[in-house]
Amino acid sequence: MDLSDDQRAELWLGALVCGVVVLLLAMLGFILREAWPSFAHNGLSWFGSGGSADRQLQSIFDSGTANGPQQYEIHAWPMIWSTVLTTTGAVAISFVCSLFVAAFLVKFAPDPIKRVLEPVVRLLASVPSVIYGLVGVLVIVPFIGQHLITESERASVTPVIQLSGYSLLAAVLILTVMTAPVMIAIFAEGLRSVPRGWLEGSLALGVNEWRTFWKIAVRTARPALIAGTVLACARALGESVMLFMVSGSVGFAPNPADGLIVLFEPSRGLAPTILQNTDGLSSPPMAHTLYAIAALLLFSALTLSLVGWAVKRPMKRYQHAGGVA
């Protein structure tokens, strides 16, 4: 039977989509299979704290020889906590800044400024993360180390960690700059999709422009705000190169009880831990440990997507109005 071009295209595209889904499931299955020995040896204590994470990783690496017992003990809480702090901090700051920038772009910016600002935002979104890391290492980290950290703060923690500028603050600042362009683009698109009739109706009723924008436009664009936030969180979760360069590369859990010093404390998240220890993949227990970290990152990304979908569900009525889904 001769198929038409449309039918043939449908078959090919369907096959391609099935292939991609199979590939993703295979990748997921492979990672979970490789991660299992690390989770099996540690149980729930894998997610807890206890001892120096760096020394545990070193023991795991050193034990990866043909003879002798293989070490799997790891308490990944310092890396998990570092990931939570950097992601939450960067996305929170980025959300506020991006919302205001998007509102300015859509509503208040004169056309000449809009014509300059929009390409700049797009350019910032396309800069490779290693460039941000270089700027961080050469500019931000020395500035923090030499001008923001006092000698007494350094001396108070020096037996445990080193305050040299490689810090949570540097990581959060640069991650904010990296995630903001993505959020600005999606927020602006969502705000532009709000029906003009709704805004004009509000203005006709005597509500001022500022209040109309925030109460009507921003509220209508909530699905877009959530989508942008989820995307930014996913980018922040998976960021490894830049964080590896500026966060300090130490398996240490920054302690908020330390006060302002927590901003200057070094740490290392889950993704940078994988990057830093990639050289040790030839050691089987290290490989299993890194796959376990990768499995946790995958699970986090999946959970993030589900949470975003669940939060957007009650806002379906705005999608018909043109908000970004």
Binding site: Q146, E151, P159, Q162, S164, F252, D279, S282
Partner: protein, 299 residues
């Protein structure tokens, strides 16, 4: 009645459907054939991994060896000396370069000495300290001494920011054995993955101190004497510098590639390799001098 609205079915592979197919296939075959010629000509690629401290020397040696033996190419991953040994044990690479002697855990591998290097101790150029003892060095990297006011000769009174290597580095294991007496570095030591990053860290932090190979301590940082002995070629060659070390070639005990063995023997004994090693900043140990035909004295 004949349906004139329907187009006659075209054969699947008709020239009208794919007018440029023959030209496309000809281009593909030509390109693949051209790429395949070096493979077909007997080119060999030797794969290795290991020390990043020794990478500057090894890259120079690879380049020269490939110029002399045109069919030999190299692929080298500087993932750290310890990681390189594990790569050899796992069969991922044909050889590794390490900066520490063999350990009991290196089963299944054979080590051979190639040339000499020194693990230099470096500080920022603005630090006045010029000498450090092994004991003071141990206390710094164990977190016992954490202020420059505790180190003789320094003009600083700030905290010390020690920078070291991570567990995959042979340099770290050598430092651990030679200075720390088998103990691990303190938690306040910033662990980085290459000598280059140690050098960059020291350049950017006036309070820092770190250990790097000879090649990475020549510019941008200030080399200290250790126990009054400078970290230079002369004192490394005479074994008087306390932290001198051999650069080792590591191969699998069984199934060693003959090409790899030839290369490592060339590195260790040839006059040409000796000249490159000295020019690159390390110290030739066994190589014949250019004026002599016989092999150098083996230590």
């Amino acid at each position: 009645m004949r349906d004139t609205t329907r187009q006659p079915a075209r054969p699947r592979w008709s020239r009208s459907r794919f007018p440029h197919a023959r030209a496309g296939w000809a281009a593909i075959i030509t390109v693949v054939g051209a790429l395949g010629i070096p493979v077909g000509a007997g080119a060999v690629t030797l794969t290795g991994s290991g020390s990043s401290a020794a990478q500057p020397y090894m890259l120079a040696l690879f380049r020269t060896y490939s110029q002399v033996h045109k069919s030999v190419r190299f692929k080298y991953v500087p993932d750290g000396g310890n990681a390189g040994v594990k790569d050899v044990q796992a069969g991922r690479v044909q050889f590794a370069i390490n900066t520490r002697p063999p350990l009991a855990s290196d089963s299944g591998t054979t080590y051979s000495k190639l040339f000499l290097d020194g693990l230099c101790i470096a500080v920022h150029n603005g630090n006045n300290v010029s000498n450090v003892s092994l004991t003071a060095l141990k206390d710094i990297f164990r977190g016992i001494d954490n202020s420059w006011s505790q180190v003789a000769g320094s003009n600083l009174s700030t905290t010390i920011d020690p920078i070291g290597r991570n567990a995959t580095a042979g340099s770290y294991t050598f430092f651990q054995q030679a200075v720390l007496g088998g103990a691990t570095q303190a938690s306040n030591v910033l662990q980085v993955t290459s000598d280059g990053l140690v050098q960059t860290g020291i350049e950017n932090d006036p309070r820092s101190i770190g250990y790097v190979g000879l090649a990475h301590s020549k510019t941008g940082v200030k080399r200290l004497t250790v126990g009054g002995i400078p970290c230079d070629a002369a004192h490394i060659r005479s074994d008087t510098y306390p932290l001198y070390r051999y650069i080792w070639g590591v191969v699998p005990t069984k199934g060693t590639s003959l090409q790899v063995v030839r290369f490592l023997r060339w590195v260790a004994y040839s006059a040409a390799a000796g000249q490159i090693i000295n020019e690159a900043g390390a110290v030739a140990a066994f190589n014949a001098s250019p004026s002599k035909k016989h092999r150098g004295k083996r230590r």
